[in-house]
């Protein structure tokens, strides 16, 4: 990744990783995308409440730094597998919000042509192999993609995102073991937001940190504050280097929090208002990053304002695009079940 010049780098020597590694332009772009994720989800949420979108959705509001930090060192050819809480991953990997909105509205211009919806959002061209409705479902698939990378010598690194709840599925354990034994270029990213639906990690998981489980599969287990963009990006950067060097997988535990309920309906009976309030007002990842950018002189209030209004415009345009797009015809329900052949 083209980063900061030598002179600029020296002046930033004492700053956290990303401020040494990336240009001001790149960092502003990160802030833009964090806002894009947040506003996209707020827009989706509102459309859902107004009955424009059906089904269900899982919002990652509060976890934006995690998605952006992990994807920062990835190239366009690198791949990810994502989860039911995958809008942030999708945007971080380069998706266009207008096509995401179109998918949520069930339109043919959506990433899955209206067949998948929120829970299956993907952008294969940009390396996002898809969100997943099955908890843990994407983990072995990422290992398979990493096997392809190794066998086909493409040099691709694969990231598998999953939640804390997923680490109790058999698929997690089997996949980590295979990846370690075969030294595959894959990074396991557990976004630990404290709960799998209503069940806290304390009630579901025998180890204190999910990263502790890396020891069982002889790979590095790294814990980061998932709400601090620089910390996440640094851990991801190292794991990507290790994977590209053929040294095998890493497990990163990104500790974070979801502000919203688990899905559309959630009475939040398993956590306190104070806890939610604390994360929202004291540890919001966008606020934290914005403050750092401002403090280190990468952006001023005017710059932030410009980003916010540009994002608002992109969101508004995206929703319009989705509304104006055509729905699939019911005569086409049979499409894509098998590969079309001439």
């Amino acid at each position: 990744m083209a980063g900061a010049s030598k002179a600029v780098a020296d002046s930033r020597a004492n700053l956290p990783f990303v401020y040494r590694q990336y240009s001001a332009e790149q960092l502003k772009q990160v802030l833009y995308k964090m806002y894009l994720i947040r506003r996209f989800e707020e827009g989706a949420e509102e459309s859902y409440m107004r009955g424009l979108i059906h089904g269900t959705m899982h919002l990652s509001i509060g976890q934006e730094a995690s998605a952006m930090g992990i994807c920062m060192p990835l190239g366009e050819d690198d791949q990810i597998t994502s989860t039911h809480r995958g809008h942030g991953h999708c945007i971080a990997k380069g998706a266009e919000v207008k096509r995401m909105f179109a998918e949520f509205f069930g339109k043919t211009t959506g990433y899955c042509k209206g067949r998948g919806g929120s829970m299956h959002i993907a952008d294969v061209a940009k390396g996002n192999l898809g969100a997943n409705g099955i908890v843990g479902g994407g983990i072995p698939i990422a290992v398979g993609a990493a096997l392809s990378s190794k066998m086909m010598k493409t040099g691709k690194v694969v990231v598998s995102f999953f939640g804390d709840g997923a680490n109790n599925e058999g698929a997690f354990h089997e996949a980590l073991n295979i990846a370690a034994v075969w030294k595959l270029p894959v990074i396991f990213v557990c976004e630990n937001n404290g709960y799998g639906m209503s069940t806290s990690t304390a009630r579901s998981t025998a180890v204190k940190n999910i990263a502790d489980r890396a020891a069982a599969y002889s790979m590095p287990g790294v814990i980061v504050n998932g709400n601090i963009f620089s910390e996440v990006a640094e851990a991801s950067y190292k794991a990507v280097e290790r994977a590209r060097a053929g040294e095998g997988p890493t497990l990163i535990e990104s500790k974070t929090y979801r502000h919203r309920g688990h899905s559309k309906s959630d009475r939040n009976r398993y956590r306190t208002k104070e806890e939610i309030e604390d994360w929202m007002s004291n540890r919001d990842p966008i606020t934290l990053f914005e403050n750092e950018l401002r403090e280190f002189g990468f952006i001023d209030d005017k710059g932030i304002e410009a980003i916010r209004s540009e994002v608002a415009q992109e969101i508004a345009d995206g929703i319009e695009f989705a509304k104006a797009s055509p729905s699939p015809d019911v005569s086409e329900t049979g499409n894509y079940v098998y590969t079309e052949q001439a």
């Binding site: 409705g133 069940t199 329900t333």
Partner: protein, 332 residues
């Protein structure tokens, strides 16, 4: 029965059945994901955790294979677990313990043990939950000797069949259509059972037998009401149990009406419709048939997200009306 009868939703009826089972027998307990303080993904367990405590209403980690297997092991050794899958689709993660273990254990051990486990599966489409949260997989389990597989279609049956399942010494799999949870109907207070393995004639008729399962029973009844106005008299058989199947009720009905249509939400081919049709073709009712048998099932595709496509993928009331009319009038 002189117990008080009230209107309950299908979900409330199941919840009441579980509460009664737990009150009657301290070996009965509930396991599943988010069934405690969350009340279950569809609020079926509701606040049972407040009444029975976390020792008997147990939230499992997200571990379907392990969780189902633990229920099987507990059932094998004296307990009476009721295990809730959050969505029936996740049975795919637990197939090993259900198919290779629970179903065969009594047989493999020469009758030395039994596995009185009950598993509940919220199933079906219609909620916009897309391909991995909308399937109807009951026929998969219906294919496995050693399991009993039921699909109650009313609140009354949901309660009575669940209580029958808990009392049953063998593994019983209950498929509950998610769109039925809010359906209301009369449910008596207190304990009663509805037998497993017995179909129910929900509407008598002379011209055509519709064998339906789960949510399709109500759709078939709605279609029958419309067809009645056209002078077509439909008999609706609610299969209720797909293994072991109540063949006699279906055979007798077909002998009476001379026409058979099967309506179910699962993918049409290789499923319940094929089984019922073949069963009739093999029976004495075959000679009574005046027309080819018709199956109306789900399209040969996963369930799509787009709401119009989703609806088009499974039989709807107008589809049943058209197919029934064509069948009775001999249009092919």
């Amino acid at each position: 029965m002189d117990a008080m009868v009230r209107e309950l939703s299908y979900a409330q009826a199941i919840q009441e059945a579980m509460a009664i089972a737990m009150e009657m027998d301290e070996r009965v307990f509930l396991m599943g994901e988010d069934i405690g303080v969350y009340g279950g993904a569809f609020q079926v367990t509701g606040d049972l955790v407040e009444r029975f405590g976390t020792e008997r209403v147990i939230d499992t980690p997200i571990s379907e294979l392990g969780g189902a297997g633990v229920a099987v092991g507990a059932a094998l050794t004296g307990m009476r677990p009721i295990f809730e899958f959050q969505f029936s689709d996740f049975v795919t993660l637990a197939m090993e313990q259900i198919v290779n273990q629970a179903a065969k254990m009594r047989f493999m051990l020469g009758g030395e043990v039994s596995v009185p486990v009950v598993m509940r599966f919220p199933a079906g489409s219609g909620t916009g939950a897309a391909a991995q949260h909308s399937q109807s997989l009951e026929a998969w389990l219906g294919h496995v000797p050693g399991l009993k597989v039921i699909q109650p279609a009313t609140p009354y049956d949901a309660k009575g069949m669940l209580l029958a399942a808990v009392a049953d010494p063998d593994p019983v799999m209950i498929f509950e259509h998610k769109l039925l949870y809010k359906m209301k109907g009369p449910v008596p207070e207190g304990y009663y059972t509805v037998p497993i393995g017995k179909a129910d004639i929900r509407r008598e008729g002379r011209d055509l037998t519709i064998v339906a399962t789960s949510i399709m029973v109500q759709k078939a009844l709605d279609a029958a009401a419309t067809l009645e106005a056209e002078g077509i008299d439909v008999e609706v058989v609610d299969l209720r149990t797909i293994r072991p199947m109540d063949k006699q009720t279906v055979i007798d009905s077909v002998k009476k009406t001379s026409r058979l249509m099967c309506v179910y939400e699962a993918v049409k081919t290789l499923g319940i419709g094929a089984e019922v049709s073949a069963m009739i073709a093999e029976s004495e009712a075959f000679d009574y048939l005046d027309a080819p048998i018709v199956r109306l099932g789900g399209a040969e595709t996963p369930i799509p997200y787009n709401p119009e496509l989703e609806k088009a993928t499974v039989p709807q009331v107008p589809d049943i009306i058209t197919a029934a009319r064509d069948l009775v009038k001999g249009v092919r």
